[in-house]
Symmetry: C2
Subunit: 343 residues, 2 copies
């Protein structure tokens, strides 16, 4: 049915070995035979069978990408970064999203380890890297994205959650706010934990005592931001500013404030984290910590594929910088609001 190497060889009056050599540009082949083979290849529209080739070369040019069911705007941007960087190196990516629990992830790893992929990019903020390790063949290339990688045993790339949060809260304090509430992410979440730590550190620097009442639990959903804000409104000591561990929650909180006719930032200032597109469109525009998501993706591929560039062997960690994007919700003057970019 499909045209194979044998047919090409026959029509070109050469052996399949020669056809293979021509196709791979390997060894020495006469210019003449090379042309003859290529002519037939074009004529028959022959396409080397990737599986057959992979079986012998042990190379599929496929990268596995394992993601949790993550905030969608984040997710797509990350994929874009990974895919572009991969294709630049003539790789393709197998994506698997929505892995919430450890068991599911491990099963995924198994499938991907079955020889289909040359390397793996794993983002699993909810579990420790240790659990994942067991099912991996030792020689497998692997890079973690925004995950716990205790011991620095693994290659990983991450964003600087801690400093992002630290700088943001520092900025809020600079505005004069002291009673700063926070709506946190889940405790089991890596990003959430780091962001909370940054918040604490900023308070500490300015010798502001933390008030546990102002530390609200959330889970990165818009809903939990809304609920969190409602809780805050019932507090006896009202905060003058609110820092949310991600933008979705900040938008939820903002919705609650709109409903209760609370003026932002007049009565309560607001800041988020992630700098998702929506942050620019809301009113007041949302001050947030910008995260280089696309670059996170490309960095992952680089770490995976561009080995031995003088890096220390085994256990590198690349941290990408974040930056505070000042808009209106934190109390910065409207002129500060930068031009809205396309989505």
């Amino acid at each position: 049915m499909t045209v194979g190497i044998k047919e090409v060889a026959r029509k070109a009056n050469v052996s399949i070995a020669t056809v293979s050599r021509v196709l791979n540009g390997s060894a020495s082949v006469t210019q003449e035979t090379k042309e003859r083979v290529m002519a037939i290849v074009g004529e028959l529209n022959y396409m080397p069978h990737a599986i057959g080739r992979a079986l012998v070369t042990h190379k599929t040019n496929l990268l596995g990408v394992i993601l949790p069911d993550v905030h969608s705007e984040f997710f797509s941007e990350l994929i874009r970064g990974i895919d572009h960087a991969a294709r630049e190196r003539s790789y393709h990516i197998i994506v698997s999203s929505t892995h919430s629990n450890k068991k599911e992830i491990e099963s995924m790893l198994g499938v991907m380890q079955g020889g289909h992929v040359d390397g793996l990019i794993v983002m699993s903020p909810h579990i420790s890297a240790d659990g994942v390790l067991k099912r991996l063949s030792p020689r497998s290339k692997l890079v973690f994205v925004n995950s716990y990688t205790n011991g620095g045993k693994f290659v990983s790339v991450a964003i600087d959650n801690f400093n992002g949060a630290y700088r943001m809260v520092d900025h809020l304090i600079g505005h004069g706010y002291e009673k700063i509430a926070i709506i946190k992410g889940e405790e089991s979440n890596f990003d959430a934990q780091e962001r909370f730590n940054g918040y604490l550190q900023a308070l500490k620097k300015h010798r502001i005592r933390r008030i546990s009442e102002l530390e609200i639990n959330g889970n990165f959903t818009e809903e939990s931001g809304y609920d969190g804000m409602m809780k805050i409104l019932k507090l006896k000591t009202k905060p003058t500013a609110l820092f949310c561990a991600n933008d979705s929650m900040a938008l939820g909180a903002l919705r609650a404030m709109h409903e209760k006719d609370i003026i932002v930032p007049g009565e309560i200032a607001l800041a988020g984290f992630d700098d998702i597109p929506s942050a620019q469109y809301v009113l007041p525009s949302l001050t947030s910590v910008h995260v280089p998501i696309y670059e996170l993706g490309t960095a992952a591929v680089e770490s995976l594929l561009d080995e031995g560039k003088g890096d220390a062997p085994g256990g590198r960690k690349k941290i990408l910088n974040t930056s505070v994007v000042k808009r209106e919700s934190c109390g910065c003057p409207p002129g500060t609001r930068e031009r809205v970019k396309g989505i």
Copy 2:
């Protein structure tokens, strides 16, 4: 290095054929040997080599997904739908995004046809399906998503762009607006064309003459929406309503109106298409046509994998319904605005 079927066979005192049978649940194997084999499999943490298996079964359980560089919120939701539906059928997906031109897509198809994938989901609003066909082996499973599929020769799923736009413009007219401007997408874009046709049809139904001056060109970016609105503001005959062929452009137009202190919907009503998450957060909230993106993804997988469910052979087209989501920007009372969902 890696543990293979031979090692398992040796340790279990059986032939590799028996191991294979146990692993595939095929034919008859004694309960006893089955258990013995499985024990060794567990002990050695053996994992069948997917490539070796694929070479003989001609099945990779991989699906290729080819996407253009599409609006990101749309993109991620589509992937989510595809991935979930695929995993339900124990498939994985190879994603390739950002294919702008025909040539690039064709090269992608080549790679994917190399035996790596069992089927292909292609979304390429910019080119005709004909061009893609040539490089495909005839037996390949293929489904188009939101693309031209002239002649109905191919299986395809799409959203009902035409009726979505039609109903939206009809709704605007119901509000009493007659001078309705439109910011279109690119002419070469399938979705854009259909949406424009729906717009025209609605005008026709109500015997409203189209005014070419009010038909502005855009390209689905926020920027082009902004620019489009600026053009509109220079027109001698100002429209009373504006329909944008997608939400990004609507947001861009809204930004322009905010800058010029134009009250929405008071002075000009506004509506978009896609119902992206941001649509709920802007002020005023954006009336838009809801598109079931996730379902578009799952429908694609279903069409690809769930063959012979009594469908007509060759050339089916599934159309998913769209619906008008009424919010504030079209002039509907604020109470109409439905509750904001999580992103």
